[in-house]
């Protein structure tokens, strides 16, 4: 990792002051909402819902075609 010079260090301190000032929400709210959001999307996720993968564009349709 590189060594900082004085101007870079000043900017780092300013940046940390800004980062300190952000409004942090309680994890009990944000994490519960994250879990809910993920669970809510379960049925729409093709990797989890085999129904959605029935019409799979990457799978070869049957070799024979009725003309």
């Amino acid at each position: 990792m590189e060594e900082l010079d004085v101007p870079q260090m000043k900017r780092e301190v300013e940046s940390l002051q800004r980062q300190l000032g952000m409004g942090r929400e309680k994890a009990s709210v944000t994490v519960t909402e994250l879990v809910k959001w993920v669970e809510g999307g379960y049925c729409e996720d093709p990797f989890l819902n085999p129904e959605l993968m029935r019409a799979n564009p990457w799978v070869e349709k049957s070799k024979c075609v009725i003309l």
């Binding site: 990792m1 800004r18 929400e25 994890a27 994250l34 879990v35 999307g41 379960y42 996720d45 990457w58």
Partner: protein, 340 residues
């Protein structure tokens, strides 16, 4: 006390205050919040297509937003645009510099970009009038290699570099709009938020940073990894960040509570993470590793629920299509594979 000493003390004090502020809102863990959730059953995917044509290591791939086309970059000096369903090569673009490390597809589908050891980001127009694909712009200003690039639109692109900075470019004029400095090691990877207002960068200083695209400021810094962060992505809801590192783990960070939520690791995994992508709902995290495999993680329970084995060398890149229907892996074995 010298000025440098003074500043160092201030910085350390601020970091301690940030740690305390994070602790103050840590009134639950992901383990607790997901306690009632059952682990996802074993996830098994098959290789549906193998995209053959590159003659050397593949370093990067990116899906087009139509979930059908994708672009890949190889050190054989070519960018190839593939129709992943037919496996046809739509475009094979010869590059001026073969030392390419990244590529990107514009959301519109009109442009692709790449860059690498030439320190530049080259933009190619796929929809030129005479049907030929030509270099439209060469964005030069970085003093180190280009590790990653992502389009915001046809007129703006963000790049990350070994010179420790990221840049937002105006493609039309070919000039820098904003420089994002603050990382203390090579920037290795970047990802743009779903609403295009933020981006995140992962670097060799072991941290990830969240940046405001418009004002150029770093909003948040996430530490915790014990080695270089090679891969980074937004959780699909835009409110969490996933990182992958040479320390053999992936981590999930909550943006709103400003803290690490969980680590995806296993004592049997001892090699670095090269790439990662979440599934559509975020429930699965697919991560590529140096040991030629992809591991599939249950993001809420931090358990490994599957693996994609099939490449004969390092998996260097991975992407899940926008509609969530397929995963594409690219490898140093010169092949791309489509899985679902």
């Amino acid at each position: 006390m010298g000025e440098m000493e003074q500043l160092r003390k201030e910085a350390d004090a601020l970091k301690d205050q940030i740690t305390a502020a994070r602790k103050a809102v840590q009134d639950t863990t992901l383990e607790e919040a997901a306690a009632g959730v059952a682990v996802v059953g074993r996830v098994q995917m098959k290789t549906r297509k193998t995209l053959r044509g590159h003659l050397a290591k593949i370093y990067a791939m990116h899906w087009a937003t139509d979930s059908k086309l994708c672009v890949s970059a190889s050190q054989d000096g070519k960018l190839i645009v593939w129709d992943s369903i037919t496996t046809n090569k739509v475009n094979a673009i010869p590059l001026k510099s073969s030392w390419v490390m990244t590529c990107a597809y514009a959301p519109s589908g009109n442009l692709v970009a790449c860059g690498g050891l030439d320190n530049m980001c080259s933009i190619y127009n796929l929809k030129g009038k005479d049907g030929n694909v030509k270099v439209m712009r060469e964005l030069a200003a970085h003093t180190g290699y280009l590790s990653c690039c992502r389009f915001i639109s046809d007129t703006e692109i963000i790049t990350s570099s070994g010179d420790c900075t990221c840049i937002l470019w105006d493609i039309e004029t070919g000039t820098q709009k904003t420089s994002f400095a603050g990382h203390q090691g090579d920037c290795m990877s970047l990802a743009v938020s779903p609403d295009f207002s933020y981006f995140i960068s992962g670097a060799c200083d072991f941290t990830a940073k969240l940046w405001d695209i418009r004002d150029g400021n770093c909003r948040q810094t996430f530490a915790g990894h014990e080695s270089d962060i090679n891969a980074i992505g937004f959780f699909p809801n835009g409110q969490a960040v996933i990182t992958g590192s040479d320390d053999a783990t992936c981590k999930l960070y909550d943006l709103r509570a400003d803290q690490e939520l969980i680590t995806y690791q296993d004592s049997s995994i001892m090699c670095g993470v090269t790439s990662l992508a979440p599934s559509l709902s975020g429930r699965l995290i697919l991560a590529g590793y140096d040991d030629f495999n992809v591991n599939i993680w249950d993001s809420l329970k931090a358990e490994r629920v599957g693996a994609l084995a099939g490449h004969d060398n390092r998996v260097s890149c991975i992407g899940v299509s926008a509609d969530g229907m397929a995963c594409c892996t690219g490898s140093w074995d010169s092949f791309l594979k489509i899985w679902n």
